[in-house]
Symmetry: C2
């Protein structure tokens, strides 16, 4: 209330973009810590201080919000993939494998949500904004795997790793990497860097490249 | 209606045990094909020809039914583990890895549900039968991992595989195996045996045992 004279300062209104980012951040944290299934959409509304109607302005539903989180997570993973695999394959593959373990607490939480819930991208949704976000997330999941496949096929072509089915190799490497985020907790005994020390040489072994 | 004389034969009533097994089978199929989140408990009721009240006699909720499915899946996996790892480690490890890929369509579907939903065992439930089933499933998930850990530690002790952290090694092997069931579909191009041809030698490599 500007000019009400009660001594309170008027806070600047957050922009729609920053409010949206706040909802995504809060929802990611709640989904990651308490599980997607057990998080109520109303809990997200409460945590960001919005009523259901205002929240609806940003997201149609909990499910749409989840798909938007998955879209952002995979878009970031795509950008990271492009950055880490620059240059020749013999350098790019180790770079990529080590790089995918460099995760801060926020990214670990988001990776856990991605791993736990990405199966949902396969199932059509009735609501239009949900379905639109789902289709984007689904396409990105497939693109991401295709990027790995093409990259690995390039390494076979260049005779840096032995020839094999590049789709299965991509799935094996993505699968073993993803499995970490299902059990890893930031408050546990090991850092992502320590886990990488165990996993990366073995992942190079899966690809047939001595560590 | 016995003796109603309308010419219909009276079907023998299924025993409670076989009805329960039927519910579990139908729910596993629906959860595996359409996803747990997207399957309504009422769909399960309809598919087995029971009303909500009759269904409640068997399971308190969809969530309790899921946990019972997970319990049975892990109990079967435990029995398989014990059978395959009999004898000396150098034979037991390959036996175990090959054996875990021997899955018929029903088991593939159940494995998919297990992999997709086992994260739910970490989150307490409000209803007593749900919570009781959750705790059993959670304990079994931990026992199963501990079995792998102890088995692998035995192989290190016997100097068949190199010494390393047996917990991380157990998680890596379980993780890469589980990741298969997230994408594998029975109607696809490959059989579990063909997938095993790709995965098992690489899993032996992860453990440091030449294939």
């Amino acid at each position: 209330m500007p000019g009400s004279g009660d001594g309170e300062r008027t806070e600047p209104r957050p922009s729609p973009r920053s409010k949206r980012a706040e909802i995504v951040a809060v929802a990611t944290k709640l989904f990651g810590e308490n599980g997607y299934e057990d998080t109520k959409w109303a809990d997200v509304a409460t945590a960001v201080g919005l009523g259901p109607t205002a929240l609806y302005h940003y997201f149609e539903s909990k499910q749409q919000c989840l798909f938007e989180i998955l879209v952002e997570a995979i878009e970031d993973a795509q950008a990271e993939f492009a950055r880490l695999t620059e240059g020749e394959f013999a350098v790019g593959l180790p770079n990529l494998l080590w790089g995918t373990f460099e995760r801060d607490d926020r990214e670990v939480c988001r990776a856990r949500v991605l791993v736990a819930e990405q199966g949902l991208v396969r199932h059509p949704r009735p609501q239009p904004r949900e379905e639109e976000a789902r289709l984007r997330a689904f396409a990105l999941v497939k693109d991401y795997e295709a990027n790995w496949r093409d990259f690995l096929a390039g390494g076979m072509e260049a005779e840096v790793i032995p020839r094999t089915d590049p789709v299965l190799l991509a799935r094996a490497l993505i699968g073993i990497h993803n499995s970490v985020w299902a059990w890893y907790r930031s408050e546990g005994e090991m850092s992502p860097a320590e886990i990488a020390e165990f996993y990366v040489p073995r992942m190079l072994g899966i690809a047939g490249m001595p560590g």
